[in-house]
Amino acid sequence: MYVCLPMPESSPTKRKSAPQELVGVVGLEIHAQLHSNTKLFSGSQVGFQAPPNSLVSFFDASLPGTLPVLNRRCVEAAVMTGLALNCTINRKSLFDRKHYFYADLPAGYQITQQRLPIAVDGTLTYSHLGCRKRNTVVTKSVRIKQIQLEQDSGKSLHDDYRSQTLIDLNRAGVGLMELLMEPDMSCGEEAAAAVREMQLILQALGTCQGNMAGGEACIGHTHSLTHQGNMAEGQLRVDAYVSVHRPGDPWGIRTEVKNINSARNLARAIDYEIQRQMFVLESGGTVQNETRSFDGKTGHTIPMRDKEGLQDYRFMPEPNLPPLMVYEACSTAPPGVAPSQVVVLEEVRERLPELPSVRRQRLVETYGILPEHNFTLVNEDGLMDYFEAVVKETKAGPRKVIGWVMNELQGLLHQQNLSVSQSPISPQALAQILNLQENGQISSSIAKQVFQELWKTPGKTAQ
């Protein structure tokens, strides 16, 4: 939950000669679908593109007499994500019911963790190319308020022609991690960078596949587009909470922006909403506390149909699930309990893979490359491995290799919308070209021509 806390007023002795500019305040709510074989509380499969309602168990359809049974893998995934984001893992967490009526929620409530979630108080550190000046890399961090486990709802397909909704419960009951970020961001660019970093971290951990929209994901900045091999569904859903205020004043009324399907659209939506709210305030109006939907085509946010006014979710403890206990080490776990029945923090910590920020640090130290470059390297899938493979084979310095990879290789990849793995030029081939250039056998312009040739007819060697 995003809590609106009033900020202290600036000291009365300070005189403001001119009214301060309005600034935006942005908080994010991210729902990340857990990458597991089965759903959170039932043994039915988590899958995409399956026939409608074929991956649904009796519990998911909320038939009478069914009970939730927690999936161990989901708990481990949530704990791992919490550890990667420097959160405090609550040794004891509780499950609650959040009630609301909608056709894709068969039970009429969603099992979530509102009172005592599994992880709290973390930080996400991210870098971006500055809101105004795009040359310098700025590192910022945003606080993670909490991470909680919850169920996903089914999918509804709206058939406006026949005035009905078709419900597919394949997605109902799939485990989600809700990551709440404190409103520490101030513009769309920061929010987009934070989300991209989160995607990378989740993908590196393997806890979530991190795609925001089906088919294509916008990872990396500006023009890069990474195609996924499979038409995966969006596993990462982001809602933004936007308000504006003058620094020092209490926070303004916030609006919620939904229906954002890529990091780039997130930036656009937030920037538009900030502008809109500033315009409203400057013309003397007041911002309404509402939910708005982002329209990708026009770049505007439009108010969503206000269905039932402010929702009262009537939270209550989930009576069918005792508290979830996580233990620090095997020694603190209760004796005589099977190891499959306990989640031990020590073990999960050991299994933490190398995080993107650590990778970038390693690149800088090993190869001495600039932060902007290693930023792109880690962002693009497979680019870093490509780079390292080339560096291994060639005598040319890492800086030169970077230049080639970033400019020539990336340029052609983007032009033809290919991913790194689809590049017709292998790392070895590129290394050969660079070696020839180093030896003085060819000049740099000829090297570029050779590169183009090899691109068109892969398989030939540089000789």
Partner: protein
């Protein structure tokens, strides 16, 4: 604070009569008794306790505990949120009696004591292995629904808002219950 209320027989019969006429959700094929694994006798125990808790919180916040009336707009809000029907003055009187009964809990001093959600709090939560064991019963599930289209369940385009009190009374007059 969550209260297990020993409600009166009147409330029980009222609760039993509620279900079909007031469950306006679009999803077909789901019974109102689905939420509780305990016997039908105690059906919707948690729905009711939750309602009573909500009313209790409101009434103690706005009035002191000697209050007698549940405000009408609160009743309307509860009916809209929980889709239960208090129907008439008798139903409201039952509700108020239940609240007064629950007030007895205030006699107990609970300073420094954590609230208890369930008597099974000390049990270990069973963790299931991540292996597929269920699903693939689309036909069975779809048979439960009156209205299906190509393996999808059919629902109205959005939530149907609860009709106003006067319209409801008119609708119920024509129904069998």
């Amino acid at each position: 604070m969550y209260v297990v209320v020993n409600y009166t027989r009147k409330l029980q019969t009222l609760a039993f009569n509620l279900g079909p006429s007031c469950y306006r959700q679009g999803v077909t094929g789901v019974s109102i008794t689905s939420q509780d694994r305990k016997s039908k006798q105690n059906f919707s125990c948690f729905r009711w306790t939750h309602l009573i808790t909500l009313v209790h919180q409101y009434s103690t916040r706005i009035y002191n505990s000697k209050a007698c009336q549940v405000p009408v707009d609160l009743v309307d809000k509860l009916e809209r949120l929980a889709l239960v029907d208090f129907r008439n003055q008798e139903g409201l009187a039952c509700l108020e009696k239940a609240i007064r009964f629950a007030d007895q809990l205030h006699v107990v001093d609970t300073d420094g004591v954590d609230p208890m959600d369930s008597v099974l709090e000390e049990r270990a939560l069973y963790l299931r292995e991540d292996a597929v064991a269920e699903g693939n019963c689309a036909e069975e599930l779809l048979q439960l629904s009156k209205n299906t289209v190509e393996e999808y369940f059919v629902a109205p385009p959005g939530n149907i808002p609860l009709p106003k009190r006067e319209e409801r009374a008119a609708m119920l007059k024509h129904s069998e219950i």
